[in-house]
Symmetry: C2
Subunit: 205 residues, 2 copies
């Protein structure tokens, strides 16, 4: 099949939202979750992020990319202030509320209330979890790595606690997140359901 070629001059000529949609979609269908935090003043925050990345399992480290401070200040400031945050899977039943958290609410607004999601608090964690989520985990801040080229940050946390439905963790540690209806995303504003295609054995030469 003959493919269409797009060069960097064309990419640079694109309108801002058009380019964001296209470049974002290049990585493919990706994780999306709600990050729950709380400010020192006690205002809960919940915001949608689609940049979670597994960094390693020993220690258990997960990262996410936070946009520049001017574009997305609250989640980052709250994590810096408290050192703790939660990541909560999104399901089709509340995808509209999850997407609505991407709106730029003032810092003093509680997005849980604004979008209609339910915060829950657990012992030993000041940050709120999203009750509607079937897979929730708690992170302790490890490091915030500034990315010099565009003002973003790689925020690294260690996995402290996990909550998920009973009987979902399989005999080999695998979790088929499609079986609990976790959705993924692509581009600026698209959400995807997923279906397990195939698992493989550990590959050897």
């Amino acid at each position: 099949m003959e493919l269409q070629h797009i060069d960097k001059v064309t990419i640079a000529s694109w309108d801002r939202f058009y380019r964001a949609n296209a470049i974002n979609a290049l990585v493919g269908v990706k994780p999306v979750s709600l990050i729950g935090t709380i400010s020192n003043a006690g205002t809960p925050n919940v915001a949608v992020f689609s940049s979670m990345v597994h960094l390693g399992s020993n220690p258990a480290l997960i990262g996410y990319i936070n946009r520049p401070r001017a574009a997305a200040p609250d989640t980052l400031a709250n994590i810096e202030a408290t050192g703790v945050y939660t990541i909560n899977h999104i399901h089709a039943s509340f995808v509209a509320q999850a997407h609505q958290t991407s709106a730029k609410y003032p810092s003093e607004v509680d997005e849980f209330e604004a979008v209609g999601l339910t915060p829950i608090y657990r012992k030993g964690c000041v940050a709120p979890f999203v009750q509607e989520s079937m897979l929730q985990y708690q992170l302790q801040l490890v490091e915030i790595v500034p990315i010099q080229h565009n003002g973003t940050f790689l925020v690294i946390g260690s996995v402290e606690n996990i909550w998920l439905p009973h009987n979902v963790l399989q005999a080999d540690g695998f979790i088929d997140v499609a079986s609990i209806g976790t959705i993924s995303s692509a581009g600026n504003d698209a959400y995807y359901t997923t279906q397990l295609l195939q698992r493989f054995a550990y590959a050897k030469p």
Copy 2:
């Protein structure tokens, strides 16, 4: 619904592969692609990675996590040597070959030959593309950021060229990668098909 609670003591007690599977699956269904590189000696390399992350669209920057050098040396060394690499979407038709590239072949082995994929070369790019892939893009190395806590690296590249089927790029820049059969992955060894659920308007308070 009452959820199962797993704490960090339990996580630390898990077997290595079990823990990798579980912690990996926490992020949800995620991008997976083949990275094409070439060594200074001219040996092509192709390897599967499931850690691509969109860093920004102006400039167009995409990152991926490279495991510690001892675990995954070739791709990183080739990118350092040549400064250029390709990222190629994976489809169900060659998912077995793609997974097989995760085997630890010696540096002098051409994985394209070893697993049965076809390299193609394009003007101005020494790194090979994967001919079987319907969406391919070329990256110029921008920075390799070491992650101190576990010896991994965030490899950042700028998008130089894109190849994709005609009529896939939509009027607003969106690319529905499910429409070209791009698959995603989860855990250590699971691959997923995806289906567009819903798109939303830009969210405002």
